[in-house]
Amino acid sequence: MAVGSLKRRGRSIVDAGFRDLSFAFAAFIVFLILLYIIEIGYHSLPSIRAYGLSYVIGSEWNPPREIFEVLPEILGTLASSIIALVIGVPISLGVAVFLAEISPRGPRVVIGPVVELLAAVPSIVFGFWALLVLVPQVIRPVEHALSASLGFIPLFHGAASGYDLFSAGVILAIMIIPYVAAVSRDAMQAVPRSQLEAAYALGGTKSEVIQMSVFGYARSGIIAGIFLGFGRAIGETMAVTLVIGNSLEFKASLFAPAQTLASLIANDYSETIGVVQVSAIIEAGLVLLALSLLSNLGARLILRRFVKRGAQLL
């Protein structure tokens, strides 16, 4: 049969066809990236022409007066994501260290997948739960306590209603933990045993081995995980929209309502009437796309370097 098929030249047409078909669909992925950039860029043009640079450096979003500027939203996006990293990264690293170095095999094979399950919860469910459980039962009491005791610090100014930048940061932290923890754990598990054994042989305690060998070796993988978490956080829409308070003004306080680029889009698209406003909304998507591409490219480049280095050493 093998010899026969070698002689039947006709089959090579099927062969080429199959290859070309898979190539065509792979090319569609390349096309899709271009489509995002070109289509969203093209539909942003009216807004770019009308507002130019003031779109990203001005602070007024005023549909009746046809003024559209998104600096408060850019700041809100960055601030909520940074709060998410400040809270989420230490927890993620703790989880990763536990899974990679501390847990015995038994608990690890159960806990690992359960942490990952957190990533499967739909963001609307996170948001709805945060709106009705997390904020009233946990965050608001904490905010009241902080604002009563430390309210004189500008960072804690505000109504402390619970629907503010801080809540957005907390729910984002919860949502990025599974991603940052998983990437960090993989990086930690890639540390060669010889590295760990060398550190133990020097008389290191578990924590000293983790600091010396694990964090040192896995550093770039952990940084890549943090970038990925950041990329997730800046684009998250539903959970943030439900708890951030949706204020068009950005105040440098944890306890003041704010807005992100994503929540601006979710709040404003339906009210849009004018052509320019539609374009201004789409340009908010363009800015968000640029931010997410940057953080993603950063993560991937670091991850590639880390994978290559790991492969060389192994």
């Binding site: 569609f28 992925i29 899709l32 919860v121 469910v125 709805f128 997730r232 800046i234 998507g285």
Partner: protein
């Protein structure tokens, strides 16, 4: 070992345990509240009525229908495209092109879903000719389909890579045509490819943001692909923000149905395949 070093060591281990508790407490709380409050909202009329923000008789009938149809269209777009591009990455692409496609698929997975909503909003909702323009179930399906393509592509190429190379070498040595060899390799990776598709489907079924800008939501059942359509996630969003106790209760009910479906698929897939997750 001196006492200070021992103490530091204890502290580290305690810290990782605290971190673990903090990471898992939200999941436990979500499952608890959604189950308790969700179950309380379930009754026959909840499943037989359409979404309504007036009165006390709304339900998820049209939302279930919408999620099913929109995800069906999304999979019709995302599964064949994703699987075939995954085949290219793993089996056909030269090292260089394969890597480029894989890299771009990773970048696509990282694009926020609301941006995909904006893409379809400007490409279809605003720009199609008259009877097809506007907020439509079709636009919602395309948006979710675009999200599904890179996910399925990645899970497929990963599944194909787990097939031992000896199979490819044996095929080549026997003079089997490449396309037939590829089919054999795909058959060997079938469970991996299938779980990837299932996880991707569960993922997009829980999406809300892109649907806000495309399917919009509706109080009616399916009226054709070029009419607005309700989905489960839109139902939760609209009811959650309504402020009416009855509607909020309904949002819990819908969250319960959505959560057990999505988590159920994830748990079953993991138990059956003992899959080490790559995030989708």
């Amino acid at each position: 070992m001196n006492a200070r070093r021992k103490l530091v060591d204890r502290f580290w281990i305690a810290f990782t345990l605290v971190a673990l508790v903090l990471a898992l407490a939200p999941l436990a709380s979500i499952i608890y509240y959604v189950t308790v409050k969700g179950l309380a909202a379930l009754n026959i009329s909840f499943f037989t009525h359409n979404f309504s923000q007036v009165g006390t008789e709304g339900g998820i009938a049209n939302a279930l229908q919408g999620t099913f149809l929109v995800v069906l269209l999304a999979s019709a777009i995302g599964v064949p495209t994703g699987v075939l591009s995954g085949v290219y990455v793993a089996e056909y692409g030269s090292k260089r092109y394969g890597e480029i496609v894989r890299f771009l698929a990773d970048v696509l997975v990282g694009i926020p879903s609301i941006v995909t909503g904006i893409l379809i909003y400007s490409t279809l909702v605003l720009s199609l000719p008259a009877p097809f323009r506007g907020y439509t179930a079709f636009a919602g399906g395309v948006a979710l389909g675009f999200m599904e393509i890179p996910i399925v592509s990645n899970t497929t190429s990963e599944a194909l890579r787990t097939v031992p190379n000896s199979l490819r070498e044996a095929s080549a040595a026997l003079g089997v045509r490449k396309w037939r060899a590829t089919l054999v390799i795909m058959a060997n990776a079938l469970s991996g490819v299938t779980t990837g598709i299932l996880l991707a489907t569960a993922r997009i079924a829980g999406e809300t943001a892109p649907l806000l800008l495309t399917a919009l939501g509706s109080t009616r059942g399916f009226q054709g692909w070029f009419q607005a359509m309700e989905t489960m996630t839109l139902f939760i969003f609209q009811n959650a923000t309504s402020g009416t106790p009855f509607l909020v209760e309904q949002a819990w009910g819908a969250s319960f149905i959505l959560l057990i479906t999505v988590l159920g698929i994830n748990i079953i897939v993991r138990i059956v395949t003992r899959r080490r997750t790559t995030f989708v």
